[in-house]
Protein backbone atom coordinates (compact mmCIF):
# COMPACT_ATOMS: atom_id res chain seq x y z
CA UNK A 1 0.00 0.00 0.00
CA UNK A 2 1.21 3.47 -0.93
CA UNK A 3 2.08 5.76 1.96
CA UNK A 4 3.92 9.10 2.23
CA UNK A 5 7.35 7.53 2.67
CA UNK A 6 6.99 5.08 -0.25
CA UNK A 7 5.50 7.86 -2.40
CA UNK A 8 8.48 10.10 -1.62
CA UNK A 9 10.94 7.29 -2.38
CA UNK A 10 9.07 6.50 -5.60
CA UNK A 11 9.06 10.18 -6.57
CA UNK A 12 12.88 10.38 -6.50
CA UNK A 13 13.46 8.03 -9.49
CA UNK A 14 10.39 9.51 -11.16
CA UNK A 15 11.86 13.02 -10.88
CA UNK A 16 15.16 11.60 -12.11
CA UNK A 17 13.60 9.91 -15.16
CA UNK A 18 11.34 12.91 -15.75
CA UNK A 19 14.36 15.17 -15.85
CA UNK A 20 16.37 12.84 -18.12
CA UNK A 21 13.55 12.29 -20.61
CA UNK A 22 12.30 15.88 -20.52
CA UNK A 23 8.83 14.63 -19.57
CA UNK A 24 8.95 16.20 -16.12
CA UNK A 25 8.03 14.40 -12.91
CA UNK A 26 4.28 15.04 -12.92
CA UNK A 27 3.63 13.45 -16.34
CA UNK A 28 4.99 10.18 -14.93
CA UNK A 29 3.69 10.48 -11.36
CA UNK A 30 0.06 11.18 -12.20
CA UNK A 31 -0.47 7.89 -14.14
CA UNK A 32 1.43 6.06 -11.38
CA UNK A 33 -0.83 7.53 -8.69
CA UNK A 34 -3.86 6.56 -10.78
CA UNK A 35 -2.36 3.05 -10.92
CA UNK A 36 -2.43 3.04 -7.10
CA UNK A 37 -6.13 4.04 -7.19
CA UNK A 38 -5.62 7.67 -6.15
CA UNK A 39 -8.51 9.71 -7.66
CA UNK A 40 -7.31 11.30 -10.91
CA UNK A 41 -8.33 14.86 -9.95
CA UNK A 42 -6.39 14.61 -6.66
CA UNK A 43 -3.37 13.32 -8.59
CA UNK A 44 -3.62 16.21 -11.07
CA UNK A 45 -3.97 18.88 -8.36
CA UNK A 46 -0.93 17.54 -6.48
CA UNK A 47 1.03 17.22 -9.73
CA UNK A 48 0.42 20.89 -10.50
CA UNK A 49 1.88 22.05 -7.15
CA UNK A 50 4.82 19.66 -7.50
CA UNK A 51 5.73 21.25 -10.82
CA UNK A 52 6.26 24.67 -9.22
CA UNK A 53 9.01 23.09 -7.10
CA UNK A 54 10.76 21.07 -9.82
CA UNK A 55 10.54 23.86 -12.39
CA UNK A 56 11.64 26.67 -10.07
CA UNK A 57 14.47 24.50 -8.72
CA UNK A 58 15.93 23.78 -12.14
CA UNK A 59 15.10 27.21 -13.61
CA UNK A 60 17.18 29.04 -11.00
CA UNK A 61 20.46 27.80 -12.48
CA UNK A 62 19.27 28.41 -16.05
CA UNK A 63 18.44 32.01 -15.15
CA UNK A 64 21.74 32.53 -13.35
CA UNK A 65 23.65 31.19 -16.36
CA UNK A 66 21.68 33.54 -18.66
CA UNK A 67 20.36 30.54 -20.58
CA UNK A 68 16.68 31.29 -19.88
CA UNK A 69 15.55 34.51 -21.56
CA UNK A 70 13.52 36.42 -18.99
CA UNK A 71 11.86 38.82 -21.46
CA UNK A 72 10.75 36.06 -23.82
CA UNK A 73 9.49 34.11 -20.82
CA UNK A 74 7.47 37.07 -19.47
CA UNK A 75 5.88 37.63 -22.87
CA UNK A 76 4.95 33.94 -23.33
CA UNK A 77 3.68 33.65 -19.75
CA UNK A 78 0.81 36.00 -20.62
CA UNK A 79 -0.50 33.20 -22.84
CA UNK A 80 0.40 30.14 -20.77
CA UNK A 81 -1.15 31.39 -17.52
CA UNK A 82 -4.44 32.35 -19.19
CA UNK A 83 -4.52 28.89 -20.80
CA UNK A 84 -3.65 27.15 -17.53
CA UNK A 85 -6.45 28.87 -15.58
CA UNK A 86 -8.92 27.87 -18.30
CA UNK A 87 -7.62 24.27 -18.42
CA UNK A 88 -7.65 23.83 -14.65
CA UNK A 89 -11.18 25.22 -14.41
CA UNK A 90 -12.33 22.69 -17.01
CA UNK A 91 -10.75 19.84 -15.01
CA UNK A 92 -12.56 20.80 -11.82
CA UNK A 93 -15.93 20.46 -13.57
CA UNK A 94 -15.69 17.65 -16.16
CA UNK A 95 -16.09 13.90 -15.57
CA UNK A 96 -12.78 12.14 -14.66
CA UNK A 97 -13.21 9.65 -17.55
CA UNK A 98 -12.31 12.33 -20.11
CA UNK A 99 -9.13 13.16 -18.22
CA UNK A 100 -7.67 9.66 -18.70
CA UNK A 101 -8.10 9.92 -22.46
CA UNK A 102 -6.89 13.54 -22.67
CA UNK A 103 -3.83 12.56 -20.65
CA UNK A 104 -3.03 9.60 -22.93
CA UNK A 105 -3.53 11.77 -26.03
CA UNK A 106 -1.27 14.49 -24.68
CA UNK A 107 1.47 12.00 -23.84
CA UNK A 108 1.40 10.96 -27.51
CA UNK A 109 2.31 14.54 -28.43
CA UNK A 110 5.59 14.18 -26.51
CA UNK A 111 6.78 11.85 -29.31
CA UNK A 112 6.99 14.94 -31.51
CA UNK A 113 9.76 16.20 -29.27
CA UNK A 114 11.53 12.84 -29.52
CA UNK A 115 11.56 13.14 -33.30
CA UNK A 116 12.58 16.79 -33.04
CA UNK A 117 15.51 15.99 -30.77
CA UNK A 118 17.23 14.13 -33.62
CA UNK A 119 17.65 17.43 -35.44
CA UNK A 120 20.13 20.16 -34.72
CA UNK A 121 19.17 23.65 -33.67
CA UNK A 122 16.12 25.07 -35.47
CA UNK A 123 16.63 27.36 -38.46
CA UNK A 124 17.62 30.73 -36.96
CA UNK A 125 15.34 33.71 -37.39
CA UNK A 126 17.20 36.14 -39.62
CA UNK A 127 14.34 38.43 -40.62
CA UNK A 128 12.54 39.25 -37.42
CA UNK A 129 8.91 40.35 -37.89
CA UNK A 130 7.84 43.77 -36.65
CA UNK A 131 5.93 42.59 -33.56
CA UNK A 132 8.72 40.31 -32.34
CA UNK A 133 11.20 43.15 -32.88
CA UNK A 134 9.00 45.64 -31.02
CA UNK A 135 8.75 43.20 -28.12
CA UNK A 136 12.57 43.09 -27.92
CA UNK A 137 12.51 39.28 -28.24
CA UNK A 138 16.19 38.62 -28.71
CA UNK A 139 19.18 37.63 -26.64
CA UNK A 140 22.52 35.89 -26.46
CA UNK A 141 24.12 33.11 -24.48
CA UNK A 142 27.52 31.52 -24.05
CA UNK A 143 27.66 28.10 -25.69
CA UNK A 144 29.92 25.85 -23.58
CA UNK A 145 30.49 23.39 -26.45
CA UNK A 146 31.24 25.92 -29.18
CA UNK A 147 32.99 28.24 -26.69
CA UNK A 148 31.40 31.31 -28.23
CA UNK A 149 28.61 33.78 -27.64
CA UNK A 150 25.55 32.91 -29.72
CA UNK A 151 23.14 35.73 -30.56
CA UNK A 152 19.58 34.95 -31.55
CA UNK A 153 16.28 36.60 -32.45
CA UNK A 154 12.73 35.35 -32.07
CA UNK A 155 10.19 35.23 -34.93
CA UNK A 156 6.40 34.85 -35.11
CA UNK A 157 5.65 36.19 -31.61
CA UNK A 158 1.88 36.17 -32.12
CA UNK A 159 1.62 32.65 -33.53
CA UNK A 160 3.99 31.40 -30.85
CA UNK A 161 1.79 33.05 -28.22
CA UNK A 162 -1.24 31.11 -29.47
CA UNK A 163 0.78 27.88 -29.36
CA UNK A 164 1.78 28.65 -25.78
CA UNK A 165 -1.87 29.29 -24.85
CA UNK A 166 -2.68 25.74 -26.05
CA UNK A 167 0.27 24.41 -24.02
CA UNK A 168 -1.09 26.29 -21.00
CA UNK A 169 -4.56 24.77 -21.39
CA UNK A 170 -3.07 21.26 -21.53
CA UNK A 171 -0.79 21.95 -18.56
CA UNK A 172 -3.57 23.34 -16.37
CA UNK A 173 -6.01 20.65 -17.36
CA UNK A 174 -3.69 17.68 -16.81
CA UNK A 175 -1.54 18.96 -13.94
CA UNK A 176 1.66 18.64 -15.95
CA UNK A 177 4.35 21.00 -17.24
CA UNK A 178 3.69 20.28 -20.93
CA UNK A 179 7.39 20.99 -21.44
CA UNK A 180 7.76 18.92 -24.62
CA UNK A 181 4.91 20.83 -26.26
CA UNK A 182 6.27 24.21 -25.12
CA UNK A 183 9.75 23.43 -26.42
CA UNK A 184 8.31 22.32 -29.78
CA UNK A 185 6.43 25.63 -30.16
CA UNK A 186 9.48 27.64 -29.12
CA UNK A 187 11.78 25.89 -31.57
CA UNK A 188 9.44 25.38 -34.55
CA UNK A 189 7.44 28.60 -34.43
CA UNK A 190 9.51 31.09 -32.43
CA UNK A 191 12.83 29.76 -33.82
CA UNK A 192 14.57 29.81 -30.45
CA UNK A 193 17.88 27.89 -30.11
CA UNK A 194 17.37 24.48 -28.42
CA UNK A 195 19.27 25.28 -25.22
CA UNK A 196 17.55 28.63 -24.71
CA UNK A 197 14.22 27.00 -25.51
CA UNK A 198 14.63 24.22 -22.92
CA UNK A 199 15.84 26.66 -20.25
CA UNK A 200 13.12 29.24 -20.94
CA UNK A 201 10.44 26.54 -21.02
CA UNK A 202 11.56 25.37 -17.57
CA UNK A 203 11.26 28.92 -16.29
CA UNK A 204 7.78 29.41 -17.77
CA UNK A 205 6.48 26.08 -16.45
CA UNK A 206 6.70 27.29 -12.82
CA UNK A 207 4.51 30.31 -13.54
CA UNK A 208 2.05 28.25 -15.59
CA UNK A 209 1.84 25.77 -12.71
CA UNK A 210 1.12 28.59 -10.25
CA UNK A 211 -1.78 29.71 -12.45
CA UNK A 212 -3.15 26.15 -12.48
CA UNK A 213 -2.56 25.75 -8.74
CA UNK A 214 -4.49 28.98 -8.09
CA UNK A 215 -7.56 27.10 -9.35
CA UNK A 216 -6.80 23.78 -7.60
CA UNK A 217 -5.62 25.06 -4.20
CA UNK A 218 -9.02 25.39 -2.58
CA UNK A 219 -11.00 23.25 -4.99
CA UNK A 220 -11.14 20.40 -2.48
CA UNK A 221 -8.84 18.22 -4.61
CA UNK A 222 -5.51 19.18 -3.05
CA UNK A 223 -4.46 16.60 -0.47
CA UNK A 224 -1.41 17.80 1.49
CA UNK A 225 -0.33 14.27 2.46
CA UNK A 226 -0.13 13.44 -1.25
CA UNK A 227 1.46 16.66 -2.40
CA UNK A 228 4.26 16.97 0.22
CA UNK A 229 6.10 13.68 -0.52
CA UNK A 230 5.65 14.19 -4.27
CA UNK A 231 7.21 17.66 -4.18
CA UNK A 232 10.17 16.63 -2.02
CA UNK A 233 10.89 13.40 -3.93
CA UNK A 234 10.57 14.66 -7.50
CA UNK A 235 12.63 17.78 -6.83
CA UNK A 236 15.49 15.73 -5.37
CA UNK A 237 15.28 13.33 -8.34
CA UNK A 238 15.13 16.16 -10.86
CA UNK A 239 18.22 17.86 -9.39
CA UNK A 240 20.21 14.60 -9.64
CA UNK A 241 18.79 13.95 -13.14
CA UNK A 242 19.83 17.41 -14.31
CA UNK A 243 23.41 16.74 -13.19
CA UNK A 244 23.83 13.43 -15.05
CA UNK A 245 21.88 14.45 -18.15
CA UNK A 246 24.94 15.39 -20.19
CA UNK A 247 26.74 12.17 -19.27
CA UNK A 248 24.19 9.88 -20.88
CA UNK A 249 24.09 8.93 -24.55
CA UNK A 250 21.23 10.07 -26.76
CA UNK A 251 20.25 6.54 -27.79
CA UNK A 252 19.81 5.23 -24.25
CA UNK A 253 17.78 8.35 -23.38
CA UNK A 254 15.48 7.78 -26.34
CA UNK A 255 14.91 4.12 -25.48
CA UNK A 256 14.13 5.08 -21.87
CA UNK A 257 11.76 7.81 -23.05
CA UNK A 258 9.97 5.43 -25.43
CA UNK A 259 9.43 2.72 -22.78
CA UNK A 260 8.23 5.19 -20.17
CA UNK A 261 5.77 6.98 -22.46
CA UNK A 262 4.29 3.75 -23.87
CA UNK A 263 3.74 2.43 -20.33
CA UNK A 264 2.08 5.68 -19.20
CA UNK A 265 -0.21 5.86 -22.22
CA UNK A 266 -1.27 2.21 -21.76
CA UNK A 267 -1.94 2.82 -18.07
CA UNK A 268 -4.14 5.88 -18.65
CA UNK A 269 -6.06 4.23 -21.51
CA UNK A 270 -6.68 1.17 -19.34
CA UNK A 271 -8.06 3.30 -16.49
CA UNK A 272 -10.13 5.33 -18.95
CA UNK A 273 -11.70 2.26 -20.51
CA UNK A 274 -12.35 0.70 -17.09
CA UNK A 275 -14.12 3.84 -15.90
CA UNK A 276 -16.56 3.89 -18.85
Amino acid sequence: MLDMLSLMLMSVPVGFIGSLTGLGGASILIPLLVFFDIPVKEAIASGMVTIIATSSGSASSFVRERMANVKIAMYLEMFTITGAILGATVTTIIAPTYLYFFFAAFLLSSFVKLRGSTKNDPVPCNNQDRISGWLELRGSYFDEVKKEIIEYRVCNALLGGIGMFVAGVAAGMLGIGAGAFKVTVQESVLKMPSKVSTATSNFIIGMTALAGTSVYLLSGFLNVTLMAPMAVGTTIGAIVGGRVLNKLGDTSLRILFFIVVIFLIAQMLYKGVMSL
Binding site: L2, D3, M4, L5, S6, L7, M8, V49, I52, A53, S56, G57, A59, S60, S61, V63, R64, E65, R66, N69, V70, K71, M74, Y75, M78, I81, T82, I85, W134, L135, E136, R138, G139, S140, F142, I149, E151, G206, M207, A209, L210, A211, T213, S214, V215, L217, L218, S219, G220, F221, L222, N223, V224, T225, M227, A228, P229, A231, V232, T235
Partner: protein, 130 residues
Protein backbone atom coordinates in the same frame (compact mmCIF):
# COMPACT_ATOMS: atom_id res chain seq x y z
CA UNK B 1 30.22 33.84 -17.20
CA UNK B 2 27.82 34.62 -14.47
CA UNK B 3 28.68 38.25 -13.96
CA UNK B 4 28.72 39.18 -17.63
CA UNK B 5 25.71 40.65 -19.36
CA UNK B 6 25.70 39.17 -22.83
CA UNK B 7 23.32 41.71 -24.32
CA UNK B 8 19.56 41.36 -24.47
CA UNK B 9 19.85 40.07 -20.91
CA UNK B 10 18.75 41.77 -17.74
CA UNK B 11 21.53 40.61 -15.45
CA UNK B 12 20.41 42.23 -12.17
CA UNK B 13 16.89 40.93 -12.61
CA UNK B 14 18.22 37.47 -13.50
CA UNK B 15 20.42 37.32 -10.41
CA UNK B 16 17.56 38.45 -8.16
CA UNK B 17 15.16 35.91 -9.69
CA UNK B 18 17.69 33.12 -9.41
CA UNK B 19 18.18 33.69 -5.66
CA UNK B 20 14.47 34.12 -5.13
CA UNK B 21 13.68 30.77 -6.78
CA UNK B 22 16.30 28.87 -4.80
CA UNK B 23 15.29 30.39 -1.44
CA UNK B 24 11.57 29.80 -2.13
CA UNK B 25 11.94 26.18 -3.21
CA UNK B 26 14.39 25.17 -0.47
CA UNK B 27 12.28 26.78 2.29
CA UNK B 28 9.13 25.18 0.95
CA UNK B 29 10.59 21.69 0.64
CA UNK B 30 12.09 21.92 4.14
CA UNK B 31 8.64 22.78 5.53
CA UNK B 32 7.11 19.84 3.63
CA UNK B 33 9.77 17.48 5.00
CA UNK B 34 9.29 18.79 8.57
CA UNK B 35 5.53 18.37 8.11
CA UNK B 36 5.98 14.74 7.11
CA UNK B 37 8.23 13.99 10.09
CA UNK B 38 5.70 15.63 12.44
CA UNK B 39 2.92 13.67 10.77
CA UNK B 40 4.74 10.43 11.60
CA UNK B 41 5.32 11.69 15.14
CA UNK B 42 1.62 12.49 15.60
CA UNK B 43 0.00 9.53 13.87
CA UNK B 44 2.70 6.84 14.17
CA UNK B 45 2.68 6.14 10.45
CA UNK B 46 3.05 7.79 7.05
CA UNK B 47 -0.35 6.85 5.61
CA UNK B 48 -1.93 8.88 2.80
CA UNK B 49 -4.99 10.21 4.51
CA UNK B 50 -8.28 10.84 2.72
CA UNK B 51 -9.49 12.66 5.85
CA UNK B 52 -11.23 15.95 5.02
CA UNK B 53 -8.70 17.81 7.21
CA UNK B 54 -5.94 16.87 4.75
CA UNK B 55 -7.65 18.77 1.91
CA UNK B 56 -7.25 22.52 1.74
CA UNK B 57 -10.44 24.55 1.93
CA UNK B 58 -11.22 28.23 2.04
CA UNK B 59 -12.92 31.13 0.28
CA UNK B 60 -9.94 32.21 -1.78
CA UNK B 61 -6.15 32.27 -1.58
CA UNK B 62 -5.83 35.66 0.11
CA UNK B 63 -8.53 34.87 2.63
CA UNK B 64 -6.88 31.49 3.24
CA UNK B 65 -3.54 33.24 3.76
CA UNK B 66 -5.10 35.74 6.15
CA UNK B 67 -6.70 32.97 8.24
CA UNK B 68 -3.40 31.08 8.25
CA UNK B 69 -1.38 34.10 9.39
CA UNK B 70 -3.92 35.02 12.08
CA UNK B 71 -3.50 31.60 13.63
CA UNK B 72 -6.98 30.48 12.61
CA UNK B 73 -5.66 27.25 11.18
CA UNK B 74 -6.66 23.99 12.94
CA UNK B 75 -4.05 23.02 15.51
CA UNK B 76 -2.57 20.14 13.57
CA UNK B 77 1.05 21.14 13.18
CA UNK B 78 1.99 18.54 10.52
CA UNK B 79 -0.74 19.84 8.21
CA UNK B 80 0.15 23.42 9.10
CA UNK B 81 3.80 22.88 8.07
CA UNK B 82 2.83 21.15 4.83
CA UNK B 83 0.32 23.89 4.04
CA UNK B 84 2.91 26.60 4.72
CA UNK B 85 5.23 24.74 2.34
CA UNK B 86 2.59 24.93 -0.41
CA UNK B 87 1.94 28.63 0.28
CA UNK B 88 5.65 29.52 0.09
CA UNK B 89 5.97 27.46 -3.08
CA UNK B 90 3.07 29.39 -4.62
CA UNK B 91 4.41 32.74 -3.45
CA UNK B 92 7.81 32.08 -5.08
CA UNK B 93 6.73 32.66 -8.73
CA UNK B 94 4.19 35.25 -7.54
CA UNK B 95 6.91 37.35 -5.89
CA UNK B 96 9.03 36.77 -9.02
CA UNK B 97 6.39 38.64 -11.04
CA UNK B 98 6.26 41.50 -8.53
CA UNK B 99 10.08 41.82 -8.64
CA UNK B 100 9.90 41.86 -12.46
CA UNK B 101 7.26 44.59 -12.51
CA UNK B 102 9.37 46.76 -10.17
CA UNK B 103 12.54 46.07 -12.17
CA UNK B 104 10.99 47.07 -15.52
CA UNK B 105 9.40 50.13 -13.90
CA UNK B 106 12.83 51.14 -12.58
CA UNK B 107 14.29 50.60 -16.07
CA UNK B 108 11.36 52.64 -17.49
CA UNK B 109 10.56 49.86 -19.96
CA UNK B 110 6.84 50.55 -20.36
CA UNK B 111 6.22 47.57 -22.67
CA UNK B 112 7.50 45.08 -20.13
CA UNK B 113 5.85 46.88 -17.24
CA UNK B 114 2.54 46.31 -19.04
CA UNK B 115 3.36 42.68 -19.86
CA UNK B 116 4.40 41.83 -16.30
CA UNK B 117 1.47 43.79 -14.81
CA UNK B 118 -0.85 41.72 -17.02
CA UNK B 119 0.66 38.47 -15.69
CA UNK B 120 0.44 39.80 -12.12
CA UNK B 121 -3.18 40.92 -12.58
CA UNK B 122 -4.35 37.61 -14.09
CA UNK B 123 -2.67 35.63 -11.30
CA UNK B 124 -4.07 37.92 -8.60
CA UNK B 125 -7.60 37.72 -10.01
CA UNK B 126 -7.39 33.93 -10.27
CA UNK B 127 -6.03 33.62 -6.72
CA UNK B 128 -8.73 36.01 -5.49
CA UNK B 129 -11.56 34.20 -7.24
CA UNK B 130 -10.77 30.60 -6.35
Amino acid sequence: MSSVDLGGGESRLETAISYLLVIGVVTSLLLEAIGMVLFYHSYGQFYLSEDKAMFLHGRNFFNFLHVLLCGGFPDKSPILFMTLGIIILMLTPYVRVIVSVLYFAWKRNIKYVLITVFVFAVLTISLGLH
